[in-house]
Symmetry: C2
Subunit: 245 residues, 2 copies
């Protein structure tokens, strides 16, 4: 497998990240995941728009590279037509501590893997081990600070569930561990607003444009929902049932 | 400069982190920072205790390496007697996504840098850009998910302050961006409890053992404090004044 790293296509087994990279030491970075089909990335403009908003918040320079071209080159190098593409942008290496390096050399990494088959319906746990912080502007960006999501996912595994939904600090529903949640209530598909800690997902925006509604959701709403779905740019996964409601 | 990486001392300029390392892709890791003097780490047992608690929460295997020996070897290789030592532990490489790799190969990285001189008194901003999530058990661990602290530090820089204090989601004081906060009120040194989002700092524990008290602190408390200090294992920094109170 090959990766695209700072403008070069390299073998993943030997490509080198600097041990002083602030992505590794401080989680100082962002990522995006999107599908490619027939060698071409889908929803790329929307993902790059969100990346740009994250860069603005974190004061990271937006990449100058031609991302569409980089993805196409990477897919060709890996002999993949259809793929899940992950782009990771970090601030690059820096000395110890929080202050920004004076002369940042950000790291841009693109990796591709075969598209997974459509996921089967998920049993979804309402996570109790942690909460999503809707008071942080980071909740609106796709950062590489993923540990709250990981804790919820571990809790789901313990409960025999396939995934989890995170509540926010007010106790309302925020999102899945790496997806947005939509529930069908009274015949309308509804999803938590960004202000409640939902990541502004690319597929979420498309569903809202098609008539879905934003609304604060409680755990009781999940219990009475006729149907529910976890959405990402890669998949729409039906919820078979909620656990721990 | 040399680093200690997975049991080997290597030149920092060529030491390699795998691009699939979950520290880089998901912030899936922990760190500790402590001083060494005369070639020997200080407070090491306390830092490794906290690391062990973080490993338990995140289900990371605790390192088998002899850390004291590794630090001594690294300092000798760098010709440093006194140093700031940073240990970073990540889950190591894994495929895309949150599920744990079936056969984890954690990354253990130790880096040393010269001890900085004692910091001058700090003008400290009460950060408004984000909040620390006291509802997450991650607030009690030193994780590499540092972006909320970075946002507060950037805000401090904008305001001409040297550092910032983060409030929790309830609006009470949590801690500094990479330090604990102590304020002197009515002749007693007090610091926010861990339940309010304070990291259980090693120097903080020592000061509590010496008579300091835990108490929920409000912004008004900061305003009326006679003195205040930001504490880490490396330094105790006097607060020259609070900004934005």
């Amino acid at each position: 497998m090959k990766v695209w790293l700072n403008g070069r296509i390299e073998a993943a087994a030997t490509a080198r990240i600097d041990p002083a990279d602030r992505g590794l030491t401080l989680g100082d970075g962002l990522y995006e995941t999107f599908p490619a089909r027939g060698g071409k990335p889908e929803f790329l403009a929307e993902h790059l728009d969100r990346l740009a908003e994250g860069c603005h918040l974190l004061r990271l320079p937006f990449p100058q590279a031609d991302i569409a071209r980089a993805v196409a080159d990477l897919l060709a190098a890996n002999d993949l037509a259809d793929a899940a593409v992950r782009l990771t942008l970090t601030r690059g290496p820096g000395p110890r501590g929080l202050p920004l390096p004076p002369d940042p050399r950000p790291t841009l990494l693109i990796a591709a893997s075969p598209l997974a088959p459509s996921p089967k319906p998920a049993r979804v746990l309402i996570a109790r081990s942690t909460r999503r912080n809707e008071h942080s502007p980071l909740a609106r960006c796709k950062t590489i600070n993923a540990l709250d999501s990981l804790l919820a996912r571990l809790e789901a595994g313990d409960a025999g569930a396939d995934d989890a939904v995170l509540l926010n600090t007010a106790g309302n529903v925020a999102e899945g561990t790496s997806s947005n949640l939509f529930v069908v209530l009274d015949g309308v598909a509804v999803t938590p607003p960004v202000a409640d800690g939902a990541l502004p997902g690319v597929r979420r925006a498309k569903l809202l444009a098609e008539g879905a509604k934003e609304r604060t959701l409680t755990v009781a709403d999940l219990k009475r929902a006729a149907r529910a779905f976890l959405t990402t740019s890669l998949s729409v996964r039906e919820v078979a049932g909620f656990v721990g409601v």
